[in-house]
Amino acid sequence: MSTIIETKNLKKVYGTKGVSFNALDGIDLKVEKGDFLGIMGPSGAGKTTLLNLISTIDKPTSGEIFLEGKELNNLKDRELAKLRRNSIGFIFQDFNLLDNMTVEDNIALPLALERKHHKNILNKVDEISSFFGIKDHIKKYPYQLSGGQKQRTAAARALITSPSVIFADEPTGALDSKSSAELLQSMLKMNEEFHTTVMMVTHDAFAASYCKRILFLKDGKIYARLDKNESRKEFFHRILDLLSSFGGGSHEHF
């Protein structure tokens, strides 16, 4: 197994001198290819900041990030855009689908931007929409879909470029438990079948139990790690235990 993501002494400071706030305070992290990593922690712990930095959306104050062996600080805007296009897929809490495109066009978007041949794009859309079980809906518009279908459309869009990493920021945040389970199943399947690395920020212990490893952040630092080496159910209970140990934990958002 090779390392796909690595950070060294990663720091992010918000605000100007005087009123500054350390969102991330020296994070060292290694993610292997094919990993399914969860990031948990209370609000303000720096989960989303970490995700944004690694996924090239934001720039760190100091420290280094290696994605597929490339140091992100050295890349220009064009190269970053290319990296986002080819190597990274995103799934967001509020789906972020384009309302004025059909499901088909939404999924096709990253490949269309790549200027792939339209026949290849359509084949690929067909394949990936079957994988996520939304093939019957591809001519519909987002407003005609349920939340779960929307999020699976977003997942399909994230996966269509066959990225090496998928970043998911609270992907189940706006879904009911049934839709959440369906989406997480698909993500797990995607991780197993295509060996796609997944990095997922979540509050939800149930969602986190699908991960192989979990990182707990607190006040911008890594507070704890958990590895799954048992069934999902037992892992779920271990997560809950850990969360309650740092106070607030799983109940912080009840």
């Binding site: 996924s55 959306i57 805007d77 064009r78 855009a81 290319k82 990296l83 986002r84 296009r85 080819n86 990274i88 897929g89 995103f90 967001f92 972020n96 384009l98 309302d99 004025n100 495109m101 059909t102 066009d105 096709a108 978007l109 990253p110 490949l111 269309a112 931007l113 200027r115 792939k116 339209h118 794009i121 359509l122 518009y141 987002p142 407003y143 869009r157």
Partner: protein
């Protein structure tokens, strides 16, 4: 804090946000003040241009201007109120009474109104002299332009705009009091729904426009005013359906052509555009109609201005001309010229007949006209208007071998336009029929023979000269012909009283002043219209950009480069500007075509100039909108 002080605080902190809105209102005040103060300006009153026609034109223009400015202010106010719906929602949520919120916003917008009146009037007074200087220059008025503050204009403008601003504030108040909390909160977060498309309307819109254009071409046959009215209704109707349905059909067709759609940013641009056109179709159609109106208005007035000179040439082609019963006096006139300090440049002679007994199905103003032979006609036009002689008349022939001979009808000098029927005219003189082959305008005899001229073949001329008395026409051009008073006086002494003398000196150029004024008023209105049209589309597209902001954040995350986003936005804004421009220009071309029929002149040049001038100013707005949209969306 009471309502008043909250409103004042809001007003102060929002001045920057309101910059554009304020600019729009100040512009309206400046425009209106300058226009109104014209009425009160003593120098303009003195310049004797205040004829009934001009006063009438100015009054109508003032009303149209005011109506338009009211619409414009109302539009811009409601746009900015919409932008602040969420703020209003938060106040309501915090438990502030809606009537109180309404009062806060109404007072705030009154503050804005007062600011724009004060700033607008101050700028208006400063710009007033410039405005008058332009008027004097363009309208060829002989006015001494001094700095002038019109108290009447100040009062009239303040009162008018105070009422306008009061009413718009009141309207804002009412709309806030009536609003529902849920709508206020959701105003910014509404899911875009897919528009329904009516194929029938889409196809019909083309048919309606086609019919409208057809009627405009045939307007002179159908009866001028009916024709124009029908055209107007059909074209406006067709335009709304065109934007409402036809373009959505086109866009939908494009979204189904995946080979085109899946090409880089096309997917983003086209998918967005289909929504914008559908969502904004009323605005876009209104813009297209406004553009058509503006270009047509400007085209009309600049055509008038353009042809004042041409018309003047038809009226005064010579330094002086005379019509005599014999050629006897020619020699004495030559002597007078030789003895003067002028040199002879051109001396044209022609024999003409005056026909006063005829019958015709042709709707002639004149009770009589002059007749001239084709040879003489060519001889004169060759020198007076060599350019069009080469182009149109050098090879012209008149068929006189048939029972009905062909003739050319030359319009009376000085006729600007006529709505006469121009087809199938025949004239019967002495029991022979003449058919009008062509109706033209060209400098020929000038104002010395103030009637239309019929050009007949040489054979027909000889025949007609047996029954009508023949006269000798002489037209003379000398150098230095601005200063001919002495020469003309000596000539008048040298010739008998019964010889009709007509000189450039006596030609009254002043009657063309009205066209200068009309041109100025028209150009002024066009400017107001262009600025307002540009602002309306600007407001609309900026609010679209605000709605789209999140969309582009997402697109950047999935790997759209800055450059691609810039291109896509420029494309979308560009198309929103371009489509109404194209439709509006086509409308105006058909409208000016009608005018061309009326004036019997080729108006291609003024039309092209009008469209080009409009496009340049409009292009500046387009560029500004693109830049603003990009900065809203956050592209560096």
């Amino acid at each position: 804090m009471n309502t008043f002080s909250i409103a004042y605080k809001n007003y102060k902190s929002n001045l920057k946000v309101y910059r554009l809105h304020l600019a729009a209102m100040i512009f309206s005040v400046i425009a209106y003040y300058n226009f109104v103060s014209l009425k009160h300006n003593p120098e303009v009153l003195k310049a004797q241009v205040n004829t009934r026609e001009i006063a009438g034109t100015a009054n109508v223009t003032q009303i149209v201007l005011l109506l338009f400015l009211v619409f414009f202010i109302w539009y811009s106010t409601s746009f900015f109120l919409n932008q602040r719906k969420k703020e209003i929602g938060i106040y309501t949520f915090m438990g502030v009474q809606k009537s109180k919120i309404g009062a806060i916003f109404a007072i705030e917008s009154l503050f804005l109104g007062l600011t724009s009146i004060i700033v607008g009037l101050a700028l208006g007074v400063l710009l007033g002299k410039l405005f008058l200087m332009m008027l004097a220059k363009v309208a060829l008025l002989n006015v001494q332009v001094d700095f002038f503050v019109s108290s009447g204009g100040l009062i009239e403008t303040s009162i008018t705009f105070f009422i306008v601003f009061f009413l718009t504030s009141l309207q804002g108040y009412i709309s806030i009091v009536r609003s529902k909390l849920i709508d206020l909160f959701n105003a910014s977060k509404k899911e875009e729904q897919i528009p329904k498309v009516s194929y029938v309307k889409g196809v019909l819109s083309i048919a309606i426009l086609g019919l409208g254009y057809y009627v405009s071409i045939k307007a002179l046959i159908l009866g001028f005013f009916t024709g124009i009215l029908i055209t107007l209704i059909l074209v406006v109707w067709g335009t709304y359906w065109l934007f409402g349905s036809f373009f959505t059909i086109v866009a939908r067709y494009l979204t189904n052509r995946k080979s085109l759609l899946y090409k880089g940013t096309n997917l983003v641009s086209i998918s967005n555009q289909i929504f914008k056109i559908r969502k904004n179709y009323r605005t876009l159609a209104t813009i297209a109609v406004l553009i058509a109106t503006t270009i047509t208005a400007f085209g009309t007035v600049s055509s008038l201005k353009y042809f004042v000179n041409k018309n003047y040439e038809t009226e005064v082609p010579y330094t002086f001309s005379y019509v005599a019963e014999s050629e006897d006096i020619d020699n004495s006139i030559k002597t007078v010229i030789d003895n003067s300090n002028h040199n002879l440049e051109l001396w044209k002679k022609s024999k003409i007949l005056f026909v006063d007994k005829f019958s015709t199905n042709y709707n002639l103003y004149n009770r009589s006209f002059a007749v001239m032979s084709l040879t003489d006609f060519k001889e004169i036009v060759k020198d007076l208007d060599p350019e069009s002689y080469e182009k149109n008349y050098s090879d012209i022939t008149l068929d006189d071998s048939q029972e009905v001979s062909q003739v050319i009808y030359v319009e009376s000098p000085g006729v600007m336009m006529s709505i006469l029927k121009k087809y199938d005219g025949t004239i019967n003189i002495n029991d022979s029929d003449f058919q009008i082959k062509e109706q033209i305008k060209t400098p020929l005899l000038g104002g010395g023979v103030p009637s239309s001229v019929l050009i007949v073949s040489d054979k027909d001329y000889t025949k007609l000269s047996e029954s009508f008395k023949e006269y000798y026409f002489d037209g003379i051009i000398v150098d230095n012909d601005e200063n001919t008073e002495k020469l003309i006086n000596s000539i008048r002494e040298a010739i008998p009283k019964n010889v009709g003398l007509y000189s450039k000196m006596q030609a009254h150029k002043g009657k063309y002043d009205i066209f200068g004024v009309v041109y100025f008023l028209g150009a002024f209105m066009s400017l107001v219209f262009i600025v307002a049209t540009g602002s309306i589309i600007y407001f609309k597209l900026i609010s679209d950009a605000l709605d789209d902001k999140e969309k582009y954040v997402m697109l950047r995350k999935i790997g759209m480069t800055q450059k691609e986003i810039t291109n896509s936005i420029s494309q979308q804004v560009g198309i929103s500007f371009l489509i109404p421009l194209i439709i509006g220009s086509i409308h105006s071309i058909f409208a000016i075509r009608v005018l061309m029929d009326l004036m019997n002149y080729d108006l291609t040049i003024p039309t092209v100039i009008s469209i080009a001038a409009f496009t340049v100013i409009y292009g500046v707005f387009c560029f500004g909108t693109i830049r603003k949209s990009l900065s809203i969306i956050g592209v560096k």
